[in-house]
């Protein structure tokens, strides 16, 4: 779109002019650049068709001492065919006070712009101070992508043709005279994510890989769309560098800001030469099916915690990154997950619940958690979906035991049974008082690996039906003197007199245990 640029002030320099306008001697009429050593070394500015540019000139101190006159003279162009500022007189001359604007609106079809440039010469102090302004017009014939669609994980080649006005790159300076490529989403937001979740370019910025380059000798660039980049509509924009109200480099080498970054010099909308819209579609591929293990009968253990892993998931092609999410198929399973890297680390340690989707990379696995029923005789089922395949895990609970662990425990109304009293005559044992007996107190033999389960431990004496919290209590005592989290889970074996202990800690540990009958 046509833009009105107003540059920071251009200052005349201490460089005497020759007697013949248009044929300056060496060192006279020096080129004024704002980016002399990096982005725009050989022009004062780039413009496009329809732009209006305004350049304030001054003979005051611009970093080299300044002059005495309070006005600046326009000395014309190198050739009569070059466009003049609107403020020039019919003789290609003119005079304005310091700071006055010298302006022009670009009409690319007008003959004076046939060479895509104009050079304006200014002097003051009777020619003792001079400066030259060069403005180049960037024109293109076409800019397009090879396709209007691309899959996640795919690539899209962009090609530019009919480029004129852009100076050649400067050897050894990869920043010089570039056109810039950026991607914006359907809301116009710049995509600044690179890698698997965003974009990157075959020729582009090292520090900001989401920005690509094109140059006069490099008119194609390949966009790589990340495998987990959001699907939808996007636009690739082609822009020239610079524009008003950008940061600039002064003549004395210092860098300043002029009006703030109203228009970003690399991807500001004002600099747009062309654009191309395309759609990112979901990637295609297959992946192996997760395995959550056998269904669980939790007996009378309520809200039974399940913590398992899917096993390694591989994708074909390996660049395919399938969606991963959980759902609660039956009951309040509280199914949740996190991705696990092949080296055992986690991209994010926290778990993701129902309603949120992440993308898996080939070789990762998925930690899966869910919760069993909170009531007796219940069922919960959680599902883990990866790509187009899934596995489910069901936890069931049995009927409540007679003496629920949360109910009142004893009947104190009976007038029969056995009572033991102390010397004071007070009951210390017997009917009406629930008693506790230690069945076993021991140290586990050996250690249990992290995320591993102990060998079965037998509870002596009891019947299988008594292996429930309402009749036996199992106490696990962590034995490590200096360790992190303390996380053990007891699994009572259904219809048996044994239990196992899951080590949810980060390292192999051992433990003491006490089992009570009460």
């Amino acid at each position: 779109m046509a833009t009105t640029y107003e540059t920071p002030t251009v200052y005349t320099q201490d460089a005497p002019s020759s007697a013949f306008l248009g044929y300056p001697n060496a060192g006279q009429y020096p080129l004024y650049t704002f980016y002399g050593s990096n982005y725009l070394p050989s022009r004062t500015m780039y413009v496009k068709n329809g732009d209006t540019f305004k350049i304030p000139l001054s003979n005051a101190d611009g970093g080299d001492g300044g002059g005495t006159q309070t006005s600046v003279n326009y000395a014309g162009t190198t050739g009569a065919a070059d466009p003049d500022p609107a403020e020039a007189n019919t003789s290609q001359g003119g005079n304005q006070s310091n700071g006055s604007l010298w302006t022009h609106t670009v009409n690319a079809s007008a003959t004076p712009w046939n060479d895509n440039e104009t050079k304006w010469y200014f002097f003051a102090d009777s020619g003792a101070r001079t400066v030259r302004v060069e403005v180049a017009l960037i024109e293109i014939t076409s800019f397009a992508g090879a396709s209007s669609t691309v899959n996640q994980g795919g690539t899209l080649v962009f090609t530019l043709s009919g480029l004129t006005g852009l100076d050649s790159p400067v050897s050894g300076n990869s920043n010089s005279n570039n056109l810039y490529l950026t991607i914006r989403d359907s809301s116009g937001n710049l995509v600044t994510t690179s890698g698997s979740g965003g974009v990157s370019w075959s020729t582009g910025s090292t520090n900001n890989p989401y920005i690509g380059y094109m140059r006069s000798n490099s008119l194609t660039n390949t966009l790589t769309v990340g495998a987990s980049m959001s699907t939808g509509s996007y636009t690739c924009r082609l822009m020239h560098f610079g524009g008003a109200q950008n940061w600039v480099t002064n003549v004395d080498g210092t860098t300043t800001f002029s009006g703030g970054l109203v228009n970003n010099p690399f991807y500001g909308t004002a600099n747009q030469l062309a654009s191309f819209s395309f759609t990112v579609n979901a990637g295609t591929g297959t992946n192996t099916t997760p395995s959550l293990g056998d269904n669980i009968n939790a007996g009378t253990n309520l809200s039974y915690p399940v913590d398992t892993n899917s096993g390694t998931i591989t994708c074909d092609p390996t660049t395919f990154e399938p969606d991963v999410f959980t759902s609660n198929t039956t009951g309040s399973a509280a199914a949740r997950f996190r991705l696990k890297n092949s080296n055992g680390t986690y991209p994010t340690t926290s778990y993701t619940g129902v309603g949120t989707t992440l993308q898996l990379t080939s070789g990762q696995s998925v930690d899966f958690k869910m919760t069993g029923p909170s009531g007796y005789s219940g069922t919960t089922t959680g599902r883990l979906t990866i790509g187009s395949v899934f596995d489910e895990l069901t936890v069931t609970t049995s009927a409540a035991a007679d003496d629920s662990d949360t109910d009142a425990l004893v009947d104190t109304s009976s007038d029969w049974g056995l009572i033991i009293k102390n010397d004071a005559g007070n009951q210390i044992f017997g009917t009406g008082q629930k008693q506790g007996h230690v069945l076993v107190a021991a140290s586990y033999s050996g250690t249990v690996a992290s995320n591993g389960t102990s060998n079965p431990i037998t509870i002596p004496g009891i019947a299988a039906s008594e292996n429930i919290p309402g009749r036996t209590a199992i106490l696990i005592i962590d034995k490590q003197a200096n360790t992190g989290r303390v996380n053990w889970i007891v699994y009572r074996t259904s219809n048996a007199t044994t239990f196992t202990v899951y080590n949810g800690n980060a390292e192999a540990r051992t433990f003491d245990y006490i089992v009570l009958r009460h």
Binding site: N301, D403, V410, N422, K434, G461, H518
Partner: protein, 247 residues
Amino acid sequence: MGYGLKVIGGNDTFIIDSDLTGARHLVVVAGPSTSTHNTTYTGFASGDLIFAKPLSGSGRIVTSWTDPSNPKPIHSSNSGGSYGYNYPNSVQQSYLVVRPSDNVTATDQNGGYGLTVFDTNGTSKMYDSRQASKGLDIVALKGQYQCPGGMELESGGSTTFVSGNHIYAGGTLTNIYSCMNSSNSNIFVHPVTGHINHSYRGYMYRTGSTDPGVYYFGWEWLIIPNVYAQFFDANNINDLIIGELVS
């Protein structure tokens, strides 16, 4: 049962059963005693259980079992610290030492008479009324993972008690003791990365007119100094047992 003694109360309440070979009655062998911060419970021997309550009124109680043969009560009035709730803000305890009957040496706490029940070997005592003048009546239980955890904190008059952590309901907590073998108190500083992990599980005694009783509390506090701090609720990894001291 060919011989011995079996007593079952109303609602199938367990009292004693000679058929449970190896079962040993829990005998209150010491206490109530007053705890000293980070000092082994007086009279404790390996295999014993510790039952405790706040020395007075309400508050949290917690025990470190990092050395199971040397458990220590942790009293910490510091509920803040550099990263917030670093410490359990736990109080001094009144505690009982409870020991399986065949490890008890006392023989004449109630005079020279009473009832003794031997195991099948004829020598090990399953129960002996002469071993103690006090008893422990189990009045409440919670199975593993049934309490969601959290801080159970009353702050600024607003109540944040969680009903799911309520183990024992009652306004008179004078003789209500909680099994501290289910508790833990760990502070871990990683020797290489420097990250810190605080882990606390214990009991909170709440007095007053609103839902008084004994609550479970449990949390983990992961800290990477100057970088990251994350609080986690921690379920009860052990069954929780509440007893009433009778004497």
